[in-house]
């Protein structure tokens, strides 16, 4: 398979809130060897439905197949393929970094530059929160790297058509 043309796509799937629906979708991906980069799922404004956002990478043809195979599942109401360029894409990050008397001001400074939230401060650690696109989150993490990052939690991407 040619990976040069691979792009990232976000599949926005509206699914009936039936048990096992996430398993059905995830199972379909693994069975057909489509790689999931990230997946986010939660109930929508209508409690009968869940919105599932799946980031996949692949060429155009693979993504069209993914779209058609997912659409075929009985519990699926609608699948929209969002190109990264046409959508607002956001991720959420929690980052815990080591803190001491020497670096604590520096840590806060970086957070302020990114308008990140400070969720918790302990004598020896600090937890930050940031929402943004993947690039912003990557550079945020990079800036903290010299200070001994203890833990990172990152959600998959959420996306909405512009």
């Amino acid at each position: 398979m040619n990976h040069d043309n691979d792009k990232e796509y976000v599949l926005s799937v509206l699914a009936r809130n039936n048990p096992g629906v996430l398993l059905r979708i995830a199972g379909l991906f693994s069975r057909r060897c489509y790689n999931i980069l990230s997946i986010v799922a939660a109930q929508t404004e209508n409690t009968e439905y869940s919105r599932i956002l799946i980031v996949v990478s692949g060429d155009d043809r693979i993504v069209r197949q993914v779209d058609k195979q997912v659409s075929k599942l009985v519990d699926i109401k609608e699948v929209t393929v969002l190109n990264r360029e046409e959508a607002v894409v956001r991720e959420h990050l929690l980052l815990k970094v080591e803190r001491n008397l020497q670096n604590s001001e520096k840590l806060v400074e970086i957070a302020n530059v990114f308008h990140a939230g400070i969720l918790n401060v302990q004598p020896d650690s600090m937890i930050m929160e940031l929402t943004g696109d993947a690039n912003t989150i990557n550079s945020f993490i990079e800036l903290y790297n010299p200070y001994n990052v203890l833990k990172i939690l990152r959600t998959g991407a959420m996306a909405m058509m512009k």
Partner: protein
């Protein structure tokens, strides 16, 4: 009307017009079997020797009738025994509803005795499946299961029902089967485009798949082929979708297709593919398939478009409706030169094979004799292997639903169970299971089922003492290193059959072919024929792995 869950299941089956189910009892389905006892005058239950046999029987019932087949199994091992049968139906888009029992709701998820997550296990091999935890949902779930199994691209649906749900009482209100939702129909401009392609083509070629049979499109297909004046080829799954005794039929396309079909695909200027998923067994090398001509694909499942190869015109919808619409628009075409060329190839590359020695029984000749003796009207079921391909090549299927075979999954052990299902569904027809000795050993237990219910299937075992198809590959691609394909079982087939209560015959010489087949066909009880054949007979033509479908090996 207040009924128990088990009774509701029975009523729902009756709503759907189910008259026969195949299954095996057990603890978790005790209530269902108690209801089956109560409804025994309305619903016929066939107890197979193994749940796999029950699933294959439901499948054979469905393939030979077009109705949805039903099988029932208990929780745990009963349910898992169905899995191969369900997967077989899934790969060939056969409508089936599998009902499994499960442990009571309060025991679910506790690794209870005979508990298994069968909905989880069967997710990849069912069109959809359900776990019914509330009695209120039971009737509607079964109705939906039948609707899903039998509409659109058909397939198996599993309904898992905990034991307590089958015992609880609930109000039951009868309901007629749900109407099928209206499917898609191509835009008018697609038809215009198709018509233009059909009108300008000089060498059109129609290639048909199992979808023709599923959509009952054969009448329209016949008309279409005549209007277009084109040759017709088929996949393994479309045997009988077009009359194979007619001059237009040029045999199968693909790995074991005819040379005529190979030449036709090489020389055609338009390919019209109806109800087929372009499986790798047909494309062989996808990059070398139909390179020089545009392709029109008529298909109900959108996901099949551009999956294995790119096509030029996609027409999504029911094959019968689309062909009917095309027939209404298309005026009579004439392709005299092309059809003459086709006829020449057919004459030049026939599939006939006759033995010259009394000592050697050729399977091809046995099948041709069977074709003659049954007027090409029997239902032929197969296992998987060389015998399966010979059956498709040498029996001339004239009508649909007379060839029952596991194409997509290629399930050895499928045939005998499926034959039992097909025979139960078609009591007036002759049903013959063509088996290899390897496949026979996988499910010979079902001979006991045929014997017990006096289901008059003929089990014709092509006994070559080897796993012929695999051995053929070893011969071609592994320098004749026959690793584990020489069976040389000490089984005495005739005695085994008799032990099950089944009459047995033997064919070991050429002159015995016709008299033995006649004798077997004259009986109205299950029969086994042990037919000795040479292990070195090959299935030809054959496209080697990675090769082009245009260049099959004709001799080896």
């Amino acid at each position: 009307m207040q009924l128990t869950g088990a009774q509701i299941i029975m009523e729902c089956l009756l709503e759907q017009g189910v008259d026969t189910v195949f299954g095996y009892p057990g603890g978790a389905v005790l209530n269902i079997y108690d209801a089956l006892y109560e409804y025994r005058n309305k619903i016929n239950h066939i107890r197979t020797a193994h749940e796999q046999g029950a699933a294959h029987a439901a499948d054979g019932y469905a393939r030979s009738t077009g109705k949805t087949g039903v099988c029932i199994a208990t929780s745990g091992p009963g349910a898992t025994n169905l899995v191969t049968g369900i997967a077989t139906a899934y790969m060939d888009s056969v409508p089936m509803v599998a009902i499994t029992g499960n442990v009571s709701c309060d025991l679910l998820g506790l690794d209870s005795f005979q508990e298994v997550d069968i909905t989880g296990i069967t997710m990849p091999v069912t069109k959809h499946n359900y776990l019914v935890k509330n009695i209120e949902d039971l009737a509607d779930t079964i109705r939906k299961a039948f609707l899903i199994a039998g509409t659109g691209r058909k397939g198996p649906v599993l309904v898992d029902i905990p034991k307590d749900v089958t015992a609880q009482k609930y109000e039951y209100t009868p309901q007629p089967p749900l109407p099928a939702p209206r499917g898609d129909f191509p835009w008018a401009e697609r038809f215009e485009q198709a018509l233009e392609m059909l009108r300008t083509s000089e060498r059109p070629f129609i290639y048909t798949g199992g979808g023709v049979i599923a959509a009952e499109a054969y009448g329209e297909l016949k008309k279409f082929a005549e209007l277009l004046d084109a040759p017709v080829s088929s996949s393994l799954m479309c045997q009988g979708g077009y009359d194979q005794t007619g001059p237009r039929y040029i045999g199968m396309l693909g790995m074991h297709g005819t040379n005529t079909a190979a030449l036709a695909i090489k020389n055609c200027d338009l390919l019209i593919a109806v109800g087929t998923r372009f499986s790798d067994r047909v494309l062989c090398n996808a990059n070398l398939f139909a390179r020089h001509c545009p392709i029109i694909q008529i298909e109900i499942d959108t996901a099949e478009f551009n999956k294995n190869i790119d096509v030029d015109l996609k027409m999504k919808g029911d094959a019968r409706e689309i062909l009917a619409h095309l027939n209404g628009m298309l005026s009579q075409r004439q392709h005299k030169l092309w059809m003459e060329e086709i006829a020449e190839w057919k004459a030049l590359y026939p599939l006939v094979q006759e033995s010259t020695s009394e000592e050697e029984v050729l399977p091809q000749e046995v099948l041709e004799t069977l074709d003659r003796l049954t007027d090409s009207e029997a239902i032929l079921v197969t296992e998987v292997g060389q015998h399966q391909m010979w059956t498709a090549q040498f029996y001339r299927f004239r009508t649909p639903r007379h060839f029952v075979s596991s194409g997509g999954l290629g399930t050895m052990g499928f045939g005998l169970g499926a034959a039992i299902g097909a025979q139960v569904a078609n009591p007036g027809k002759r049903v013959i299971n063509i088996a290899g000795d390897g496949s026979f050993h996988m499910n010979c237990n079902e001979l006991s089922t045929a014997a017990q219910y006096n289901i008059p299937v003929i089990e014709l075992v092509f006994n070559n003492q080897v796993l012929g198809m695999v051995r053929q590959w070893q011969k071609l691609f592994y320098g004749g290193r026959f690793s584990q394909t020489t069976l040389d079982r000490t089984t005495n087939y005739e005695m085994l059959a008799q032990a099950f209560g089944v009459k047995a015959f033997t064919i070991s010489r050429r002159s015995e072919i016709e008299p033995v087949l006649k004798q077997a066909l004259a009986l109205r009880e299950p029969v086994l024929i042990n037919c000795h054949i040479n292990p070195d007979v090959n299935v030809l033509p054959m496209v080697p792995a990675g090769g082009s479908v245009e260049n099959p090996i004709l001799e080896m």
